[in-house]
């Protein structure tokens, strides 16, 4: 089993590395989207799947990360590799506030989710009215043709593809290690029964905070990548609840708390999205793509509420809880 899994992963990795040569521009941009959602989904998964905290305001961290790094680059010319560190700091700070307030005041479930939404919306409106970040008019980074500059993340889609591939793969590995570690086991205990875990001596508050901070940090990195890839940021989209919800779909559909979940979820959802867009273009009815998409979500949550990955894993005979 283990050998089969490793072999499968190796083949996958080789295919992914060769992808730019195999796919056209459109195909590559779709694959980039898949990896992005897998990455950011994995980050969200840490908070929800591992530590059991439903965050519907994760766009806060992505937006903060993106704006901080882009803003530093735009105003002071500070490259993203340095900017990302500041971005992470900002997101972790925000996450700590949200986490601390939530846990200290014992907010759980919907209440906690609403707290996260409130913070994201609050920040959105704030950025809408802040001129340093361009206000509601948006922040734009300059783009040049034919320039490939890894240090400043300027370049074509291929550059960004490899960066996001590295990030997604790295996060996959990181989560694998985390799950093996003591922190990972504490998280499992907390998720199953927080009170019992506390009784046994698990430092619940600290573990939850760790989950939030790691999740926020990774999401911030995604935000930075996103900002430099699209070269534009608007508060309305960067912090929107739509973005936050987007981030949650892949892990939930794929399988909460599992490693493969976010990736499978990202693959399925992005493919479905593109398929439905094409169908929608053919049919010419506005909003038809979203209707199909909604139906797909409905079907999956009704018939496979635990997500697609656990089901696929069972089919493929991967017994170990990946």
């Amino acid at each position: 089993m283990s050998a089969r899994l490793l072999a499968g992963l190796a083949v996958l990795l080789v295919l992914l590395l060769a992808a730019p040569a195999l796919l056209g521009g459109y195909g590559l941009s779709v694959l980039i989207l898949v990896l992005y959602f897998a990455f950011v989904g994995q980050a969200w998964n840490i908070m929800m799947g591992f530590a059991g905290q439903l965050s519907l305001g994760h766009a806060l961290y992505a937006g903060l990360g993106g704006y901080v790094a882009a803003g530093l680059y735009f105003h002071y010319g500070i490259g993203p590799w340095a900017g990302v560190l500041v971005a992470i700091a900002a997101a972790v700070a925000a996450g700590s506030i949200v986490g601390y307030l939530g846990f200290r005041f014992s907010l759980a479930g919907v209440y906690f989710a609403l707290l996260t939404i409130a913070f994201a919306e609050f920040t959105r409106i704030g950025f809408d009215n802040w001129s340093w970040s361009g206000g509601s008019g948006g922040l734009f980074l300059k783009v040049e043709r034919g320039v490939t500059d890894l240090a400043n993340l300027r370049g074509g889609p291929v550059l960004f593809y490899y960066v996001i591939l590295a990030l997604a793969a790295g996060t996959f590995g990181l989560c694998h290690l985390l799950l093996q570690s003591r922190l990972g086991r504490y998280w499992l205990a907390i998720r199953e029964d927080a009170e019992a875990a506390q009784a046994v001596g698990v430092p619940v508050l600290r573990c939850k905070m760790m989950a939030v901070m790691i999740s926020a940090a990774l999401t911030a990195i995604a935000g930075v990548w996103n900002a430099f890839y699209y070269n534009n940021l608007f508060p309305e989209t960067a912090f929107s609840i739509g973005r936050s919800i987007e981030m949650t779909l892949s892990p939930i559909i794929g399988g909460l708390g599992t490693l493969g979940g976010p990736l499978i979820g990202a693959v399925v959802l992005t493919s479905l999205g593109e398929l439905f867009t094409s169908v929608g273009d053919m049919l010419g009815i506005p909003g038809i793509k979203q209707i199909f998409y909604g139906l797909a979500l409905l079907a999956i949550i009704m018939y496979r509420p635990a997500g697609l990955w656990p089901w696929i894993a069972k089919r493929l005979g991967l017994e170990r809880r990946l």
Binding site: G25, S29, F140, R145, Y230, F234, T237
Partner: protein, 415 residues
């Protein structure tokens, strides 16, 4: 339990087969789109769904009749125009542009909204495909040093320069000059650009009025009663609204309800001349003044365009959305005629050298400066009269007479 599993697995297989069936004709779709041999393939990126869908559809009207107008004018060119929906979102605009380029579009036209246009521009620049901007006023589009873009639409500062000049004309012709003004401004990319422009240019424009207050409101606002109340409280002589369609309707509705009747001149934003506004507001939409680039009623090409528009879309009023979109396609067609090639560099070169004397919108010949900006577009003063926006100034293009200041809400002249 096992039954459900088996069903789902079979079901999954069916879904996959269905997907393959659906997906298979996709490459064929692109091929079949070119039913007749076309000279140039144009990717038209517009918001066809989402908040700006209505405008996207109006723009597309201009595209739908383009080939017919070319035929009527004996222009030996046929365009294959494929429309892509940006869903009023910059990221979707971007992926759709990638799709357009992948599908073989040789020229891009779009995207109405400044934020989406910038997203499209980046892809155009990166891929080296020429982009002709039909409508988008934010300065960064032609200020970022992009080499593959030309814009046939005034920037916010251009709109404002024109607006200030025309306002002076309005005051001179009517003999009435306001001393104070208040600005009600929508808080989005375009609104911010306009507001920034006003703040920067007003000191040097030598206007006879002073702006007492600027009140901004959320783009998604459902209700503007507080904002209008604040504006009314300033007791300003004149209102300058910076708005879009939906908020324009809300704004005027509130003004009527709160019985506030200032002079009102829209300095260059959409909303108040649009058919939906006129229809919804009825008699309260009459006499509304907007300063906008507009279709030249005296141009022959405009008459041809109007003829085809009315024939194909009866009951739909033609406006600048269709006009500028048509002009963008005219520019693309003209560039192909000059370059005789579909290679991007040749097309781009021809685009930069464009000089079209006879066209549709008011202003000098279509020409682009070093940054790709057409600086010859002129604004006009539009006033809603008899349920249509009519050009009242400048005199050379006028088709009706100006009424300024506007009659009160209860005035007998309002029918």
């Amino acid at each position: 339990m096992t039954d459900r599993n088996r069903f789902t697995r079979r079901g999954l297989g069916r879904i996959a087969a269905g997907a393959a069936l659906v997906g298979a004709p996709l490459p064929l779709r692109f091929a079949s789109a070119q039913s007749a041999p076309a000279n140039l393939k144009v990717g038209l990126i517009l918001p066809m769904s989402g908040a700006q869908a209505l405008i996207g559809q109006m723009c597309k009207h201009g595209a739908d009749i383009a080939n017919d107008v070319f035929a009527d004018l004996k222009l030996p060119v046929k365009l294959d125009i494929v429309t892509y929906d940006s869903e009023t979102k910059p990221d979707v605009a971007r992926t759709q542009t990638e799709k357009a380029v992948e599908a073989g579009c040789q020229v891009l036209v779009g995207a109405f909204d400044s934020g989406q246009t910038i997203a499209v521009a980046q892809v155009a620049e990166q891929k080296g495909v020429p982009l002709v901007v039909n409508i988008a006023a934010a300065p960064p589009i032609t200020e970022s040093g992009y080499k593959f873009i030309v814009r046939n639409f005034p920037t916010a500062p251009m709109l404002l320069t024109s607006a200030f000049d025309l306002q002076k004309q309005i005051f001179a012709v009517s003999g009435v000059t306001p001393k104070t003004a208040v600005v009600l401004c929508i808080n989005d990319t375009f609104g911010s650009a306009m507001l920034g422009g006003i703040k920067a240019m007003l000191p040097k424009a030598g206007m006879p009025y002073e702006i007492l207050e600027t009140i901004t409101y959320d783009a998604a606002a459902k209700d503007l009663s507080v904002e209008v109340a604040k504006a009314k409280a300033t007791k300003a002589d004149m209102l300058m609204p910076i708005c879009r369609l939906n908020d324009a309707k809300l704004m005027v509705q509130e003004m009527v309800k709160q019985r506030w009747e200032p002079m009102s001149i829209n300095p260059g934003t959409p909303g108040m001349y649009e058919q939906d506004f006129i229809k919804s507001m009825g008699k309260y939409g009459e006499y509304t003044i907007s300063i906008q680039p507009w279709l030249d009623p005296k141009s022959n090409m405009t008459k041809v365009l109007d003829k085809h528009h009315t024939a194909k879309f009866p009951g739909v009023q033609i406006d600048i959305d269709a006009g500028f979109t048509f002009e963008a396609l005219l520019i693309a067609a003209n560039a192909w005629l000059a370059a005789k090639s579909t290679k991007p560099d040749a097309l781009m070169d021809a685009l930069r050298k464009t000089k079209i004397d006879e066209h549709v919108m008011v202003g000098g010949p279509i020409q682009f400066d070093a940054k790709g900006q057409n600086v010859n577009i002129k604004g006009t003063v539009l006033q809603n009269l008899q349920r249509k926006p009519k050009v009242v100034l400048p005199k050379e293009s006028a088709e009706a007479t100006l009424t300024f200041p506007q009659p009160g809400w209860g005035d007998k002249r309002r029918t």
